[in-house]
Subunit: 400 residues, 2 copies
Amino acid sequence: MSSFFEILKKSPNSNARIGKIITNHGEISTPAFIFCGTKATIKSILPEQLYSANTQIILSNTYHLMLQPGPDIVAKNKGLQNFTQWKGPMMTDSGGYQIFSLGYGSVSEEIKGKNTNIKRKSLIKISEEGASFRNYLNGDRVFLSPERSIELQRYFGADLIFVLDECTPFNVSKKYTENSMHLSHRWAKRCLKSFNSSFDTFEKNSGSSGIQSLYGIIQGGVYEDLRKVACEETCSQGYDGLAIGGSLGGTKDQMHEIFSFCENIVDKKKPMHVLGIGGIDDILHGVSCGYDTFDCVSPTRIARHGIMLSKSKIKGFNLNNSKFKDDHSCIDEDCIVPEINKFTKSYIHHLLKSNEILGMVILSIYNIWFMNNFFQEIRNKIQQDQFENYKKEILSQLSK
Amino acid sequence: MSSFFEILKKSPNSNARIGKIITNHGEISTPAFIFCGTKATIKSILPEQLYSANTQIILSNTYHLMLQPGPDIVAKNKGLQNFTQWKGPMMTDSGGYQIFSLGYGSVSEEIKGKNTNIKRKSLIKISEEGASFRNYLNGDRVFLSPERSIELQRYFGADLIFVLDECTPFNVSKKYTENSMHLSHRWAKRCLKSFNSSFDTFEKNSGSSGIQSLYGIIQGGVYEDLRKVACEETCSQGYDGLAIGGSLGGTKDQMHEIFSFCENIVDKKKPMHVLGIGGIDDILHGVSCGYDTFDCVSPTRIARHGIMLSKSKIKGFNLNNSKFKDDHSCIDEDCIVPEINKFTKSYIHHLLKSNEILGMVILSIYNIWFMNNFFQEIRNKIQQDQFENYKKEILSQLSK
């Protein structure tokens, strides 16, 4: 199944590359951004709007969907694409990321080293067999094993699926990180075995001849020796794709070092995904290292807080700011999405000040278009052997 | 300016009629429904989606827009159509309805006779000159006179605008209703004078040669003698259109009696609007009496609570109900809106259960399409001389 990824062009002076991931629901031109539709919806956005904004692929979360609406409802719809009416490629994560957020609060804060909260371990119990946790909807005890995660992802029917791992946090010891990594490796092998033995069931349940591709996840935290072990172990198995997960350190430099270190060890023929990273600068570093796909909630989450992304300001522009009250320029002259590109910043500011959902909707569509357009530019620049210059130019103009 | 309305067809066995209202932003085929975009947006919905759902006209509220974003911001955008990017016809109310809700809580409950709350009159002071109230955003004292209401509506630039009135509640004495009606008549004349003298200023401010049409409002509560006085007074002035406002009684029968009583007195050459009424049964009675347009927040408001409109159930269907969890039929086989007509009830139920905004968005678009389609059917039936049969058929199949 490794033919599902093709490398079309390599950058002459970095590991940046153009490729394509071939799925039963269409091809993904890489490097590509994957938008988070946690509960089987990109919040407030219709599939038609995703198409208008040139979206290639979205993801949903096994953890949320196993609890609501449950796998049987999705399976009766022949999978997530029919259920959500998003007809392009989809990814599902394994549930690992969310389950561990019960233990550590916001995992995204934690894996970036910003969280020093006391662990609330009582909500989650991890054993060799799997993870046991409370259903956040009704308090029931729920058990998620590697086999169950694969079974669920078979029901959901996304094109790209993930092994169950423990998303290792930042504020733990090296010993904890090492033990956790080995546990994730054992879980991953069980996932792969389950994946390989469940194709017939999947085909029967889904009524689909669609092929799913399984990604392995590289853990090891901020420790180069552990990341090396994890890269070698994960590459030695038959995963279709690879992902870099767990803590990426406490600073952006540390994150970029881990990007670079791992990419130099792994099997470069496989597509490489970065879990949970969406900063403009981080993406440029990641692409330069050879990573192909990135997912993060941030483009749509910050849109719902009034922020429009920009290549000149790392945190984007907050349209709640009163200086936009009287700014009658359109949202972005380059934006080609007809549903939103005529709105003025003044109008969006008014919607945000009035707590009107439409403000979030417009900015969500804008930020989705922005990321898709940014990745299109990245692919164009790699094609033209200009990516490293482009990266330097963007990084130099990005203000904090 | 009375040529802005043409009657194209009259029903042989009732006052129902087909007409068209001609505005600078297009024609409105009547009978028609007008959707409420209070704060210069139909909540959560893009203009493109309104077009897809065959929307003819929307309204915004002078009261809300005078406070946020303020008339200068809208005027700098050359009016509401440029500001909101809704390019079809628009209506603005005068501010009367909202201001009086400060005194009476929910005016819509009050005018339908359901409210017995003690009046909170301290928030609003009414004098001969106008209404003084607190800005709900910052507590400032704000004054709205008939002249100011017209000036504001000139700035906003909608096609159909309203005189300032006191929206008389249900639970007041006949004497109060009578005095209030006379005050509204004096205010209305001041509005008309202001309207007639402000065209040049409007043209200069808006940069538009668009003509606005002014509607007078018939008050008088549930009292036939007062309604008669109000009809005669309002018809004797040079308003382009007429609207029926204030309390319509405590029961649906009382409402339908007032519909019928007024319609038999008024000048039938002018378009007749019903303020704040959106029930399927009420609309059928209103159309039968000869009313041409109706506005109400209900189709989009109930959508945000999970309810889809229906011609077989007066309160619609609540998709939060667990029986829809496993209902994999599409939302409505007759619905032709491509953005939403493939979604299953099961998916919408899931979105509502997950508190996902997209559930509200889908149902808002559906209910907007439903009302537009309902009015298209009404026009077709009048055209075919079948309206009264259609009305009986729908009313007989409507369950409570």
